[in-house]
């Protein structure tokens, strides 16, 4: 049962990094891809329909962590307090910027949208850097306190760069027009799909590496809980994935115009 719980946790965490990593990364490079208000709106439209469905993988990961590994959840989150708080703040700021950007029109609209764009970019960078910092702590063998020193800086920067590269690849697969060309220029000669697939594999490896470093097997919840919880979650996971696949299929076309956001 513990093994299945770990597999589920790894699956949802990898899902978050691959899927939401793409929209966080696109948010990080949004000022490069979109130079005007309209272009930036197009950049956001590239991931807008998936935004909710992407970040919910992390909500599910946190749910699995508290459900199947409650003691570890408490120790990890309170131990990494200084990392988790900026991560959450970045997440909240970024999401607010995205959701509220298109909601003010008229005279105040221009300044409002510029402010929201700033929130999206800063929030996305904060989230990516915080993940890197968290990873440095977990991989460095000190999940009970945040990592410090050069290792933490380098890991944070490397993970953030990976997020940005993943976002660029995603933008090159999804966008059209000038933002597409800009993404294309950085992705280089490689086909956009290949670049995106490569970063996706690397992104999936990030939480798997973290999972290997964490004492998951010996901090699992009580058997009576797992024996109910894990099969139930295993049963619902395939339909959940199917719905997400369907959602990606519905919005599979490259974006040419703005969306609701």
């Amino acid at each position: 049962m513990e093994t299945l719980a770990i597999a589920l946790l790894g699956f949802y965490a990898a899902g978050y990094f691959v899927l939401a990593g793409a929209d966080v990364g696109t948010g990080m490079v949004a000022p490069y891809l979109g130079r005007t208000d309209r272009e930036r709106r197009l950049v956001i439209a590239s991931f807008a329909p998936f935004l909710l469905g992407n970040e919910v993988w992390l909500v599910a990961t946190a749910g699995l962590l508290v459900g199947c590994f409650p003691v570890l959840e408490g120790e990890l989150l309170s131990g990494q307090f200084a990392v988790i708080v900026p991560l959450l703040v970045g997440w909240v700021v970024r999401d607010s910027g995205l959701w509220l950007r298109g909601r003010v029109t008229g005279r105040a609209g221009r300044a409002w949208r510029a402010g929201c764009d700033g929130a999206v970019v800063c929030g996305s960078w904060t989230v990516a850097l915080a993940w890197g910092w968290l990873l440095a702590g977990v991989l460095g063998g000190t999940p009970e306190r945040p990592a410090s020193g050069a290792v933490a800086l380098v890991t944070a920067a490397a993970v953030a760069a990976l997020f940005a590269a993943h976002g660029l690849g995603f933008a090159a697969v999804r966008l059209t027009g000038l933002p597409y060309e800009r993404a294309r220029r950085l992705v280089g000669r490689t086909r956009a799909v290949h670049s995106f697939a490569l970063t996706a594999v690397l992104m999936a490896a990030v939480p798997v590496a973290a999972g290997v470093a964490l004492p998951l097997a010996r901090s699992a919840a009580d058997h009576a809980t797992l024996v109910l919880l894990v099969p139930a979650l295993l049963v619902v996971t395939p339909p959940l994935v199917a719905v997400q696949v369907w959602s990606w299929y519905v919005f599979r076309h490259r974006v040419t115009g703005p969306s609701y956001l």
Binding site: A48, P49, F50, L51, L52, G53, E55, V56, V59, A60, A62, G63, L64, L65, V66, G67, C68, P70, V71, E73, G74, L77, S78, F81, A82, I84, V85, L88, V89, W91, V92, D95, S96, W99, L100, R103, V104, Y180, E181, R185, A192, A221, D222, A224, T225, L228, L229, A232, L233, V236, T237, L240, V243, S247, V250, H253, T256, G257, S259, Y260
Partner: protein, 435 residues
Amino acid sequence: MNPDVSEVLGLARLQFALTAGGHFLFVALTLGLATVVACLQTRATFGGGDLDARLVRFWGQLYVVNYAVGIVTGIVMEFQFGLSWSGLTHQAGNILGASLAVETIVAFFVESTFLGLWIFGWNRLGRWTHLAAIWIVTLTAYASAYWILVSNGFLNNPVGHRVEGDRLVLDDPVAVLTNPSALLAFGHIVAGALLTAGFFMAAVSAYHLFRRTPEWAFFGRSLRVGVFLSFPALVVTAVFGGLQMSSLATLQPVKSAVFQQETAEIARLQAELAARFGPGDYVPPEAWTRGGALVMLIAFGLMMYFTLAGFVLAFFRTAVFRFRAWHVALIAAVPLPYVAMISGWVFREAGRQPWVVYGLLKTEDAVSDLSPAAMRASLATFTTLFALLVAVNAWLLVRHARRGPADVGLGRDERPDADPGGREDPAGALPVPRY
């Protein structure tokens, strides 16, 4: 207690109270409005006219604005258990954690995916598929509320568990899922959410009718929906509230005694609990417990007369369109359901102190081992952020509500029909990238 621990405890409690209260302001409206929008869209889909479709888009947009801010505050809530209350996940994680896990995956995951499809799938999904999407969003939102209240119900009335060492182990899952403290609260919350949505719709409509904007037919119907929803919702809320109140005497006798100011009974229970659990103060703070309950009951009384009168008035066309004093009253009444709900939560949560898991784990033993500086920084950050979000949300709701249904972003047809080649892969049409 160590002064540092005592300070962290106070700050962590304050942070939880403020973020939970802030989050709940959004939840209450979201849960109710989703139901209304789903019903409106059902009518629009089953051969409704243009007005029905516009109702869906207008109220749907207010729902989405409110939802978006609600979701980001909810994210902070989920992580807060581990951040500030690791003692709780350590001791009660086997039960509390499991229902939170089911909530995130079975309910919230589905809700988010389908909400994305609903918002962005306008003019893209078939009308029946689109209708199914909003109903799935609504029903999974209810499921979410249920699972959260299973967690909260367990904290208030722990059932179906066994104590093994310093941890609780799941013993009887059915007892956990049918905990009266969860089920009664669920009925209370769902009806209260519908009440909030009813008040909100009635107020926005009343504003337009009062100002005599051109959309009189649109808002006349909306006002009736809101007012006709409010009264029955209030009655159901009150019934579930009454049932909870009467179950308190057996489930949480001290809370009940503090509420009724039975001094002798309080002293007897305090002595009994001190004998059972060791020395300590087992009486919840009277100001918050009794104060919360009284504010809730006063708000309920006001709403009872107001919604009953409204229920009668709304049958008369003249009143709906011309009774301007009533319009003003409807606008002014918007805070009432919020006040009632927040004070109800204060009564429920402050009234179970000093326990975080009733009779099993004290709040002071559940707080994480954090430095006061870290906790202060976190409290300051989240409080500022939440206050800002509540203010922005209120401002945007008012702005969109005042603007009316003329220019609604939600459901606008953004398809590039003028540009039929627009959907093809642009890679072929663009110049080869230069380096």
